[in-house]
C-alpha cells in the first residue's frame, strides 16, 4: 500500500511553555483542529495535518539525562507517547487513548520533578542577572562618559540591541522561574496543574516575536555595517573633508605600512551607524622640508620636528540635534585626555579650535554635518576654514 505523504505545517509558538496548563491546552486545541505536534522549537512548532482528534498532552520537566528506554516503553504501554523534548527543559507526552491513566496521578511526586527544574532555573537566573549587572556597569560607564560618541559609533545599534536582549532574557528567565516555582507550590499543596484552560492567543506570541526580530537584527546589523564600510586610497572616495595637500602646501606624501595594497599611512574609510549613516575617516602623512625629514628619520622623534600627520573625521548625523552634544563630548574628551583647551572661531554653524604645541584640533558643524580635523604640522589649521566649509556645502 502506498504510504500517504505527511503534510507539515508550522505555527508560531502561541504560548509560553513554562505555563504548563496553557501549553497543554494549546496543543490539545491544535489537535482538535487536526494539527498533531511533531516538533517543538524555540519560536515555532511543526504540526502534522491529520483528522481532528481528541488528544491529551502533558509536559514533564526533563531530568539531567534523557528518559530511559524502559521509561519510554512503560509510558507507551500505558498509552503515552513521547513526542519531543522542548529546549532540554520539558518532555512532551501525548495520549490518544481515553482509557489511559493520567500521566501523573500524584501531585506531590510530580512536584519533585518541578522542584528540581525550579532550582536549576533559579541558579541560571542568578548567574544571568550577575552577568547583566556586569554588562550594565560596562555599558552605562561608556554611555555616561560620552553617550553621543557611543551612539554614532558603528556598532552602537548592535550593542544596544544586544544589551536590551540580555535584559529581556533576564526578565524572561526570572518570570519563568517564578512561574515554575508557583506550579511547584501548587503541586505540593496537592493541586492539579494540568486542567484544560481557554488559551487567549491574542498577544502571547508578542514577546517571542520581538525577541526573534531582535535576534535577526543583531545578526543582520553587523553585516549591513560591514557592507557599508570601505577602506582604500583617498582618491576613490567622495571627499567631504579637505585633503592634506589642501591644508599643507608643497607636501610630499610619505607612505606608511602597506597591507593587502592598502597604505595605512594614507587611506580613507567609510562606516555606518544608524545615528550617523554617513561617516568618513581620512588619514594622511607626509613632510615639507626634506632635510628636516631625513634628520627626523635618522635621529628619532625626540630631537627634531615631527613629520606632518593628518586625520579628518566626517559625520552626517541622522538628527541635527545630536551635533551640538557630539561636539561638546569631543571637546571634553580632548581636554580631559590631552589638556587641549578650545576657543570658539568663525566658521559654519559652530567651530572650535584647540592647540597644544604642534598638535591642532578643529571641530566644525554645519547643520547635521560635523567634521573633526586633527593635525600635526606647521600650517595654521584654522586658516583653512574656508576650504573645509566649501567641502561641507
Amino acid at each position: 500500500m502506498e504510504e500517504k505523504e505527511k503534510k507539515i505545517v508550522w505555527r508560531f509558538r502561541a504560548v509560553d511553555f513554562y505555563r504548563v496548563a496553557e501549553t497543554e491546552s494549546w496543543l490539545a486545541d491544535m489537535s482538535d483542529k487536526g494539527l498533531l505536534l511533531e516538533k517543538a522549537g524555540t519560536f515555532f512548532c511543526s504540526f502534522e495535518k491529520t483528522e481532528p482528534q481528541k488528544i491529551r498532552y502533558r509536559l514533564e520537566p526533563r531530568g539531567k539525562t534523557d528518559p530511559s528506554e524502559e521509561y519510554v516503553d512503560a509510558c507507551e504501554e500505558m498509552g503515552w507517547e513521547l513526542v519531543d523534548c522542548w529546549k532540554s527543559t520539558f518532555l512532551i507526552w501525548r495520549s490518544t487513548r481515553n482509557e489511559a491513566p493520567e500521566f501523573h496521578t500524584d501531585p506531590i511526586a510530580e512536584s519533585y520533578a518541578f522542584k528540581r527544574l525550579s532550582r536549576s532555573m533559579m541558579w541560571s537566573s542568578i548567574i544571568s542577572v550577575i552577568g547583566v549587572i556586569l554588562i550594565i556597569l560596562l555599558v552605562v560607564r561608556k554611555y555616561l562618559t560620552a553617550p553621543i560618541m557611543q551612539l554614532v559609533s558603528d556598532h552602537e545599534l548592535f550593542s544596544m540591541i544586544l544589551f536590551l536582549s540580555f535584559i529581556w532574557s533576564d526578565i524572561e528567565a526570572i518570570r519563568q522561574w517564578i512561574s515554575i516555582r508557583r506550579l511547584t507550590k501548587k503541586l505540593r499543596s496537592g493541586e492539579d496543574i494540568h486542567e484544560r484552560i481557554e488559551v487567549k492567543h491574542k498577544l502571547n506570541w508578542l514577546p517571542d516575536a520581538i525577541y526573534l526580530v531582535s535576534a535577526i537584527a543583531m545578526i543582520a546589523i553587523p553585516f549591513y555595517g560591514i557592507a557599508q564600510s570601505r577602506t582604500g586610497p583617498a582618491d576613490r572616495f567622495d571627499m567631504k573633508v579637505p585633503r592634506l595637500c589642501e591644508i599643507e602646501e608643497g607636501i610630499t606624501i610619505e607612505e606608511g605600512l602597506t597591507i593587502d595594497g592598502v597604505d595605512y599611512g594614507n587611506f580613507a574609510s567609510t562606516s555606518w551607524a544608524w545615528m550617523a549613516p554617513e561617516q568618513l575617516e581620512l588619514h594622511e602623512q607626509g613632510y615639507v622640508d626634506e632635510e628636516l625629514w631625513e634628520e627626523w628619520h635618522q635621529a628619532g622623534r625626540e630631537d627634531v620636528d615631527m613629520p606632518i600627520t593628518y586625520r579628518a573625521k566626517y559625520y552626517r548625523l541622522r538628527f541635527e540635534f545630536l551635533a551640538e552634544p557630539l561636539i561638546a563630548e569631543m571637546k571634553k574628551t580632548l581636554t580631559d585626555e590631552l589638556g587641549i583647551m578650545f576657543e570658539s572661531v568663525d566658521g559654519g554653524d559652530e567651530a572650535w579650535y584647540g592647540r597644544k604645541e604642534n598638535l591642532q584640533h578643529l571641530i566644525v558643524r554645519s547643520r547635521n554635518e560635523v567634521v573633526h580635523l586633527r593635525y600635526i604640522g606647521p600650517a595654521e589649521l584654522k586658516d583653512r576654514m574656508d576650504i573645509l566649509i566649501s567641502k561641507l556645502q
Binding site: E69, Y71, W80, P101, F103, H104, T105, A109, Y112
Partner: protein, 103 residues
C-alpha cells in the same frame, strides 16, 4: 553526605514500597501489583511511577539490581524498609486514633 529522608510518603509512594516488600520488581510490575492490591482503586500514572522510583533511588530507599535489555529491576533497601515501617506505624496510629472516636 548523609541522604535526606522524604518528609512524607504519599499513598502512591507507600504502595510502591509495599510492592517491593516481596522482592525485586520492574516498573510495569509495580504498577500492575498496586492496581491488583487496591482492586483498581489506585492507578499510578507512568510519570508518577518513574518520578517516585527516581526519588526513592536518590534518597536510598530502593536500588537498581538488574538491567535486562530495556527493563530495569529494583529492590528495596534497609533504609526503604525503615521508611515503610515508620509510615505504617504512623498510619496505624491514625487508625487507632480514629477508632477511639465514636461516630
Amino acid at each position: 553526605m548523609a541522604r535526606k529522608s522524604l518528609e512524607l510518603l504519599t499513598e502512591s509512594m507507600f504502595y510502591v514500597l509495599m510492592s517491593l516488600l516481596q522482592g525485586e520488581r520492574c516498573g510495569t510490575e509495580i504498577t500492575a501489583d498496586v492496581e491488583r492490591r487496591t482492586g483498581g482503586r489506585l492507578k499510578i500514572g507512568p510519570g508518577t511511577l518513574y518520578t517516585i522510583l527516581a526519588k526513592f533511588e536518590e534518597v536510598g530507599y530502593i536500588e537498581e539490581t538488574r538491567v535486562e535489555g530495556r527493563k530495569r529491576t529494583y529492590q528495596m533497601t534497609f533504609r526503604g524498609r525503615l521508611a515503610y515501617r515508620e509510615e505504617l506505624e504512623r498510619l496505624r496510629q491514625c487508625v487507632r486514633d480514629a477508632e477511639k472516636e465514636a461516630y
